[in-house]
C-alpha cells in the first residue's frame, strides 16, 4: 500500500505542468477551441473530455460528438450573432462553452451563465424544440447577473395577479414546461411561473425569438405580459440604448 502511495506521489510530482490558456482564463478544464475569430468576438469552446465544476464539483457536463457539435454550433452561432460586440461587452459575455448533458446537482439544465468568468455554458443536447429560444433565455441570465441592481424581482412580481406566487426556486417546482402557452394569461410558458428571474428570462427570450408583430399582438391581448415586455425593453435600453429586439 505504502509502495503504491509512493509511486502515485512520484507520478504526481513528476507530472510536467501543461499550460492551458482556456483553463487559465475561464477555469473550466478539458476544453478546446472551436471558433475564436468571430465578428462579435465571441469565443466558442467545446468539451474535449467531460468536466466537473464548482466547489462541490456538482456541475457536470460531457463531451459532445463532432457531428452534433457541428450542427448545434451553427444554430448557436446564428442566434448569438444578433448581439453586437458592444452589447456583449456590456453584458459581460465573451466565452461560449458547448457540451452535452449539462447538469447541476444531477438536475439537467439548458445552460449556466457565469458573468464573473464571462462564460455561458450550453448543453447542445437540450430539447430541440426550444433549443434556439433557450440560448437567449440563458443570455438573459447573464444580463440579470451583471445588472442585478436594475432588475427588481419585487417590481416584477407586482405585474402578476395579486393571488399569484412564484415558487421558492426554479428547481422547487414541477412547472417546467417550455411550450408557449396558447392563452398566455401573464406568462409565456409554464416555466415562467417558477421564479421572477426565470419569468424575465422567458419574456426576454420570446421577445428575441418571436417576430415583432407576434409580440405586439400578445401585448395587445395580455395586459400583464404587456407590462412585462415594456419592463424588459426599458431595462435593456438602459443597458444599451442602441439594442433593438
Amino acid at each position: 500500500m505504502n509502495l503504491l502511495r509512493a509511486v502515485l506521489l512520484l507520478i504526481v510530482f513528476n507530472t510536467p505542468i501543461k499550460a492551458n490558456s482556456i483553463y487559465n482564463i475561464i477555469k473550466i478544464p478539458n476544453l478546446e477551441i472551436y471558433k475564436i475569430d468571430t465578428k462579435n468576438k465571441l469565443k466558442y469552446f467545446y468539451a474535449a473530455r467531460p468536466f466537473r465544476l464548482g466547489t462541490q464539483k456538482n456541475i457536470v457536463c460531457s463531451n459532445p460528438n463532432k457531428k452534433d457539435l457541428e450542427i448545434k454550433y451553427k444554430i448557436i452561432y446564428k442566434n448569438l450573432s444578433r448581439y453586437s460586440y458592444d452589447y456583449l461587452k456590456k453584458i459581460n459575455l465573451k466565452y461560449i462553452v458547448m457540451c452535452e448533458n449539462l447538469s447541476i446537482s444531477e438536475l439537467y439544465t439548458a445552460g449556466i451563465a457565469d458573468n464573473i468568468m464571462k462564460t455561458l455554458i450550453l448543453d447542445i443536447k437540450f430539447n430541440e424544440d426550444y433549443f434556439e429560444r433557450v440560448i437567449h433565455h440563458e443570455v438573459f441570465h447573464m444580463i440579470y447577473l451583471q445588472y442585478k441592481e436594475i432588475f427588481s424581482d419585487e417590481e416584477w412580481t407586482k405585474f402578476n395577479n395579486s393571488e399569484f406566487k412564484y415558487a421558492e426556486c426554479s428547481t422547487c417546482t414541477k412547472k417546467i414546461g417550455l411550450k408557449k402557452n396558447n392563452e398566455t394569461k401573464g406568462f409565456f410558458t409554464e416555466y415562467s411561473q417558477s421564479t421572477a428571474s426565470e419569468d424575465m428570462a422567458e419574456v426576454y427570450s420570446h421577445m428575441i425569438y418571436l417576430k415583432r408583430s407576434e409580440i405586439k399582438q400578445i401585448s395587445k391581448l395580455d395586459p400583464i405580459l404587456n407590462n412585462k415586455i415594456s419592463y424588459i425593453e426599458s431595462k435593456i435600453k438602459q443597458i444599451d440604448s442602441s439594442f433593438t429586439f
Binding site: N14, I17, A19, I116, M117
Partner: protein, 214 residues
Amino acid sequence: MIKKIKASKSEKLILIFLILLSITTFSAYFLIKNECLFIKNIDVSNLSLKNKNNIVILNVPCGNVIIELYPKISPNGVRRFKTLIKSGAYDNIAFHRVIKNKLVQAGDLEYGKKESINYGKIGTGKSGLGNIKSEIDNEFKYVAGSIGLARTFKNDTEDSQFFIILQDEPLFEGEYTPLGNVLYGLEALNKIKHQRNSEYVLRPDFINSLKMFN
C-alpha cells in the same frame, strides 16, 4: 625478471575511448551548467531603434531583452509601467510564475523582492499605487514576445505585475491589457528558470534591471 607486456591494439582503443569519454563528460558538464552559452547577448549600442522614448531594456540572467511599449494602445498601462521602471521598482524582482515555452511573469513588488521574497504570498503583492483600469478595447495581437499587464480574475485590477508570452496566444486578445512587444532577445526569456510541475518557481530567477532606453 619482470617481463614488459605490450598493450594490445584493442586495449589501446579502449584507453583512447575512455580518455575521449572523460573529456566529453567534463566539457559537457560546463556547457550544460552554462545555460546562457548559446544565447546572444544584445548590445543596445549596436541597435538602431526608433521610438526611443518607448524602448525598455530588461536585463535578465541570460542578457538583454529589448521591448517597445505601445502607449497609443494602452496609455494608462504604459504610463504605470514607465512610472515603476523609472523608480527602479522592478530591479531584483522575481520571475515568480514561469510556464516553459509559454510565459514568464514578474512584477510582484511586495513579495517578489530578492532580499525579502515571500513564497507564501508571491503573486499577490501590490505596488502601492493602486489598481488601474483594463485597456482591452484596442486591437492587439498577442504573439510570441508580447508583453501585457497581469490581473486577478476581474478586470480593472491591473497594477505592477506583467507577463511576456513565449508563444502566440490569441485567447489573450481582449483579455489582458497589452504593453508592447519584445524586439530583441526573446531567447533570453526562454532560459528563465521554470519548475517542471508547478507554475510557481522556487528559488526563481530575478530581473537584474529594467530601465528606459532614454
